[in-house]
């Protein structure tokens, strides 16, 4: 077995209440690593086209990767893969917390959950005893994620759902500690199986090829992270809320359902504001993470709880016309406890507010008015009244009540809190990402508009190249499985030190913006180890990795996801953006919206796809994607 992998896949059948340990497929692991890559390969191979995402035939796959259990910074994450009930295409989501660590210590790389239990069930995995217990979860059913984990105790590491997952809200997530695999409705799939919690423990040690070298190198990386302007300073000090002022200043902070990109009072939602008003602590619920971007806030009646992330502040703050951090703190806590994705939730609430504003549906919700929001969040999670409609997400609501032109989703997945009219590469990424409109499948915005180089985000230069490189990299990172923040450290501190008005900054920006094919060539080079990502993988597995290998593996995963989506009936026509983004100008100099039509052909060409967005046979052959 390749070092870094435990070598076992656990298959659970909830209907029959049986389990089996199977050997990890080494050939798949070599091609796809673990995590999202391995999970996607399994999903493709295990399922027939057209299955019901909420039916027993949709496997729910929990997958770790070769770096989990290694104590590498930010290596505490696991991936969840299934067919998404929200999009009908590939569903994948990643989560921090401690479950990945527990699973790997139990000597398991991947858990495949099949079937459906008629009664609520929870599963305990004792890796040392090779024992799996199916236990009655009736008493836990209905509890929030916090109470559920408290009831389960600290002896094991858990992945649980809240009421939203139980009620199959299409954007319900899976929670581990205070972190959530929020996107694509993976929690609804878990709920459809009657599975309340999956818990794992063990004492197995991860085998590495070069443990001493890995530890020494990791110590150096930790020092780099500590001294890095984003990982060691901004994220550490302000959390992800530190981005609010930047996106607001750049007119790309979604406001009133993306009707604007700036809110004059958004500063009240920022990490800087939180530091001065209401921050009660820093809580890193991610094991081995030196960044500790989690914030603790006080919510009356709930106590000290995890504070909101940037996405939550954007989508449940300014996107709803709200800039009162105390309200967002409370709604965020509710969503986490109920097991809801705050991005999809915020966009859906914003959509409901605009329906009300236009007189298309009496939702009782209004921009800038917190009245009724908390009640609606609870109603969504329990599918009560109108909450049952909002539980279906923005796309389905727009089909039923109208408003397609301002339904802010791609492929059914609601957009994140970066308006792509101020970040063209991010728009291409949203449009083409296989799971739908999400920012963490590439984070292109960091390389054009929110990071240190600040190229012009509103011309066509590099706007097709950046998403390809970043999507590939994110696929690889989500298969190791690491946090995407690890990649932010790849931009050296010297670049951050450049003064924005200086000639060095200007030169660096011009060189980057005009690098074109050279950029892809450099990123795809297989000459030597150049980053901690490929160095860690090499030292743990004993296989040779370079940045080029990561690009190749990522492209393989991305193309397999694409083939899965095509098999499920999605087409190139789904590579689009909401009408509002395409047609409505957001900036004074704009006459229209995002120029996706000009960028998509170039993106397809770089990907090796035909004009309809279908991977060419030679592309699949080159990448060894078997379909």
């Amino acid at each position: 077995m390749i070092k870094g992998f435990a070598g076992r896949v656990l298959e659970l059948d909830l209907g029959a209440r049986t389990f089996a340990f199977k050997p990890l497929d080494e050939a798949i692991a070599r091609l796809y690593l673990g995590g999202k890559g391995y999970g996607t390969r399994l999903l493709y191979d295990l399922t027939q086209p057209g299955i019901d995402p909420l039916g027993p035939e949709n496997p729910l796959i929990f997958a770790t990767g070769p770096l989990n259990g290694s104590l590498a910074p930010q290596s505490n994450r696991f991936a969840v893969v299934c067919k998404s009930p929200l999009t009908g295409g590939i569903g994948s989501s990643a989560c921090g917390g401690s479950f990945a660590f527990g699973l790997k210590k139990a000597g398991i790389d991947v858990v495949v959950v099949q079937g459906r239990s008629e009664l609520p069930v929870r599963v305990e995995i004792d890796g040392d005893a090779d024992a799996v217990r199916f236990l009655d979860a009736s008493e836990l059913w209905g509890l929030g994620t916090e109470a559920t984990q408290k009831a389960l105790g600290k002896g094991m590491h858990h992945a649980v759902i809240g009421p939203a997952g139980e009620n199959k809200v299409l954007y319900a997530g899976i929670v581990s500690d205070a972190r959530i695999a929020g996107r694509c409705g993976v929690g609804a799939v878990m709920g459809s199986k009657g599975l309340k919690a999956l818990s794992a423990q063990g004492t197995r040690k991860l085998e590495m090829e070069d443990e001493a070298g890995f530890k020494k190198y990791t110590q150096w990386v930790r020092q780099v992270f500590k001294g890095h302007p984003v990982l060691g300073e901004k994220l550490r000090r302000f959390g992800t809320l530190g981005i609010v002022n930047t996106t607001n200043g750049r007119n790309m902070l979604p406001t009133r359902n993306f009707q604007a990109g700036h809110h004059p009072d958004a500063m009240g939602l920022s990490g800087e504001y939180l530091e001065d008003h209401g921050l009660v602590g820093v809580r890193s619920s991610c094991l081995h993470c030196p960044v500790a971007c989690g914030r603790e806030v006080e919510v009356p009646g709930a106590g000290r709880v995890k504070g909101p992330e940037y996405e939550t502040a954007g989508m449940m703050g300014t996107n709803l016309g709200i800039t009162d951090l105390a309200l967002v703190n409370r709604w965020n806590w509710m969503a986490d406890d109920l097991g809801l994705d705050t991005i999809s939730l915020g966009v859906t609430l914003g959509f409901a507010m605009e329906l009300q504003e236009r007189g298309m549906l009496a939702t009782g919700l209004a921009f800038g008015n917190p009245e009724g929001v908390a009640e609606m969040i609870d109603a969504i999670a329990h599918r009560r009244g109108l909450g049952d409609e909002l539980a279906e997400g923005t796309r389905r609501m727009s089909r039923k009540f109208g408003g397609k032109e301002f339904a802010m989703h791609v492929k059914g997945l609601e957009l994140s809190a970066y308006d792509p009219r101020g970040s063209f590469a991010q728009g291409v990424e949203y449009a083409t990402t296989n799971r739908g409109g999400c920012h963490v499948q590439g984070a292109s915005m960091y390389f054009e508009s929110t990071g240190p180089l600040t190229i012009n985000p509103q011309n066509l230069k590099l706007k097709a190249e950046i998403p390809v490189v970043q999507q590939n990299l994110a696929c690889a990172v989500n298969s190791m499985v690491l946090c995407v923040f690890t990649t932010y450290g790849l931009v050296p501190r010297h670049v951050h030190a450049l003064k924005p008005g200086g000639w060095m900054h200007r030169l660096a920006r011009v060189l980057f913006e005009n690098s074109g094919p050279a950029y892809r060539l450099i990123m795809g080079a297989k000459l030597f180890q150049a980053t901690w990502l490929d160095t860690w993988l090499s030292r743990v597995t004993g296989m040779r990795f370079t940045p080029g290998h990561l690009q190749e593996i990522g492209a393989r995963i991305f193309n397999l996801e694409r083939m899965y989506n095509l098999r499920e009936g999605l087409t190139g026509a789904d590579d689009t953006l909401p009408d509002r983004i395409l047609n409505e100008p957001l900036f004074k100099h704009m006459t229209s919206g995002h120029p996706l039509a000009e960028l998509l052909p170039r993106y397809y060409e770089i990907r090796g796809w035909d004009a309809h967005g279908v991977p060419l046979p030679r592309t699949l052959k080159r990448l060894k994607v078997r379909v």
């Binding site: 992800t240 002022n245 930047t246 600040t454 932010y488 957001l586």
Partner: protein, 86 residues
């Protein structure tokens, strides 16, 4: 003609205001100087923080050529942190 200069959080905290409405400036340079003049003795602190921030007009960075960029009525001149993770 009215334009508004918006400060970063750190600047706002130190200088006691988030946004400065100004009458008359026709370029970014004029707006930034007029904003600085509002702070009297604290002008040096304003300069130190302004130096490491980018400048956007209505959300579009103007960076190195900011001094000469012409403004229109209602424009928003914003200091922006150049990098934020998340």
């Amino acid at each position: 003609m009215t334009v508004t200069v918006e400060l970063t959080y750190d600047m706002a905290k130190l200088l006691g205001t988030r946004a400065i409405p100004l009458e008359g400036p026709r370029t970014v340079g004029e707006a930034l100087r007029a904003a600085r003049d509002r702070f009297g003795d604290q002008g040096a602190a304003y300069d130190r923080m302004a130096e490491v921030a980018a400048v956007a007009v209505n959300g579009v960075l103007v960076a190195h050529r900011r001094e000469g960029v012409r403004l229109a009525d209602g424009d928003r001149v914003t200091f922006v942190k150049t990098a934020a993770g998340g």
